[in-house]
């Protein structure tokens, strides 16, 4: 996994509540191969109309936001379906981080497995950041994981919280399976006890 330490890029405001993962990537793209084209499916039906033409009112189609790589969203971003392809589409489109007041649980955890950082900041702060980007398209945002800070286009900074265990894994780009394998002895010992206790939990009875 690609480590995440610090990232600076143009920000884009997404003023929508409850952006579900069906909006991030519609289900019909889920069977496509996970290649470099994947970024073009991001927010597909918000970005393009039925004929494939750009919707001029969608923020990523507007001047100053086209190359943006930091997303500033609203409450409950990434709710709904567990599709990890939502994170893949964001990453393939160049995004490394999304800032929002709250996230869908599964999206949050999928993000961390892909070196993509979901940052929780208070409602008011997210609103302020989105306003700043609307007022000055092209404004850059920096997310620094080590110091747990977000720097806004006006250079104001905001601290965010992240679980230290997760932070360490993301900063080092640790692979989850490799990390867990160091506890294989504990896993085996636990399973022996569990299998003895819960003898009926198996698809192979008798």
């Amino acid at each position: 996994m690609k480590p995440f330490k610090t990232f600076s890029a143009v920000g884009v405001p997404l003023d929508m509540l409850n952006v579900d993962t069906d909006q991030v990537i519609p289900a019909r793209f889920l069977s496509r191969p996970l290649d470099e084209r994947y970024g073009s499916y991001l927010f597909h039906d918000l970005r393009f109309d039925a004929d494939g033409a750009e919707r001029p009112d969608f923020v990523l189609n507007r001047e100053g936001f086209r190359g943006a790589e930091v997303l500033v969203a609203d409450r409950n971003f990434g709710c709904g379906s567990s599709r990890e392809n939502a994170v893949t589409a964001l990453v393939e489109a160049g995004f490394r981080t999304v800032i929002a007041p709250s996230f869908g649980d599964i999206f949050y955890s999928n993000s961390l497995k892909n070196g993509f950082l979901p940052v929780r900041l208070p409602d008011e702060t997210c609103r302020r950041l989105r306003e700043m980007l609307h007022e000055g398209p092209g404004g850059e945002i920096t997310v620094d994981l080590d110091s747990q800070t977000v720097t806004a286009p006006d250079q104001s900074t905001y601290s965010f919280e992240i679980d230290p265990f997760q932070k360490n894994k993301v900063m080092q780009g640790l692979d989850d399976i490799d990390f867990t394998m160091q506890f294989l002895g504990e896993i085996e010992a636990f399973e022996q006890g569990y299998d003895k206790r819960m003898t009926w939990v198996t698809t192979r009875p008798g």
């Binding site: 003023d15 929508m16 509540l17 409850n18 579900d20 069906d22 909006q23 519609p26 289900a27 019909r28 889920l30 069977s31 496509r32 191969p33 039906d45 039925a50 609203d74 409450r75 409950n76 709710c79 709904g80 379906s81 567990s82 599709r83 990890e84 994170v87 709250s102 996230f103 869908g104 649980d105 599964i106 955890s109 999928n110 497995k113 892909n114 609103r127 679980d163 230290p164 265990f165 997760q166 989850d176 399976i177 867990t180 394998m181 506890f183 294989l184 504990e186 896993i187 636990f190 399973e191 569990y194 819960m198 003898t199 009926w200 939990v201 198996t202 698809t203 192979r204 009875p205």
Partner: protein, 464 residues
Amino acid sequence: MPATMFDKIWDAHTILEREGNTLLHVAFHLCHDGSAGGFAKLKERGIEVRRPDRMAGTPDHYVPTTSRRIEDLATEDMKRIFRAFGENFSANGITHFPVEDARQGIIHVVGPEQGFTQPGLVIVCGDSHTSTHGAVGAIAFGIGSSEVAHVMATQALWQKRPKTMRVNINGERPFGVTGKDAILAVIAHIGAVGGTGYAVEYAGSLIRAFSMEERLTVCNMSIEAGARCGMIAPDEKTFDYLKGRPFAPAGAEWDKAVAHWRSLPSDPGAAFDREEALDGAALAPMVTWGTSPENAVAVTGQVPDPVDEADDERRAALEGAIDYMGLSAGQAITDIEVDRVFIGSCTNSRIEDLRAAAKVVEGRKVRVGHAFVSPGSGLIKKQAEEEGLDRIFTEAGFEWRESACSMCVGMNGDIARPGERTASTSNRNFRGRQGPGVRTHLVSPAMAAAAAVSGRFADVREFG
């Protein structure tokens, strides 16, 4: 100290803890055709599946409802994923029901039906509606494809312990109210983000009065309130439901299992981080009007007026949803005309759902453009046919199809046309969920049937 059911199950699956994170043993891993990514990740790294004896699967997402042949899948990509499904399972010796097996169906229907889903377990699946299985008294939650691979490799997951919430629904069941109406009311009450970070236990006399199948429906939609999982304490109904199922314990093992299961319910006086209550006696058949499951109102209600919303962002969201849905502020729900009706999905495709819908449909005619039923599994389809339900549906003008996720998510090509309005027994009314530009209203099976024979939303209580 008195413990919650959640605490008991969590603690019984804790392998170790590091910096406030738990390495949690996974008792059972359910899979579907979308789990192919997990197998691919393992293969790439040359890792074996750790516990094939604690996995089971059936394809559902890409499966056609008009055919049982792989050749009839919509695209080459789907055929590729589909073939990989069968190969992965066979190569690893994992119990699975391919599409030509009568036991194939939607994984969240098949799990309980086969008895894979049991009380006291930690159950995961690469699908957000895994919360369904909590209805028997289990911790069940959806995971992404990286976590699917991790579980395949280690039979464990790193998890942060969520907070606990109890939702109490007391009161006698009002006429015409089902588990679907109750959960839509819960989501409307706590909001689409209200459950985020929580494990929810549903309790109270109305929950106890619900059948096992209704409890599955209730827990199924926990994720639509943002909850990590939903659960209901096991009781005699749970045991009766599971007894004799192919993969449920039998003989002396059954007695041993039941003795354990009886110890699971939350102890009297157990503390929850949050308590919520709904008056069960005040519930009514529900319909969603907007693009989030929290946009649910009683069938006697109206589309809200954004003017009444003080918060700017919420008002904008209301306006956007009303616009997308092609409705007007204050419009009566029963004035909304419907183009298509879908009865199916992991939320509402079980035998009781089909019976409830058939009861409304019987002797009437479909008055919408298209209506179809996709039973939750091949076995449910067979049972419904034995009961003559298929004829009731087809005589009324419904199509009677095969089992798959179908128009809940549209991945198999079962979608509606842009601008069309559906009454759907599924779980998500998100924009474009049932096809680009499609307007989805979530309802119970009986309410979907009432809409199908009325051409518009109708109060099922008036159908006797």
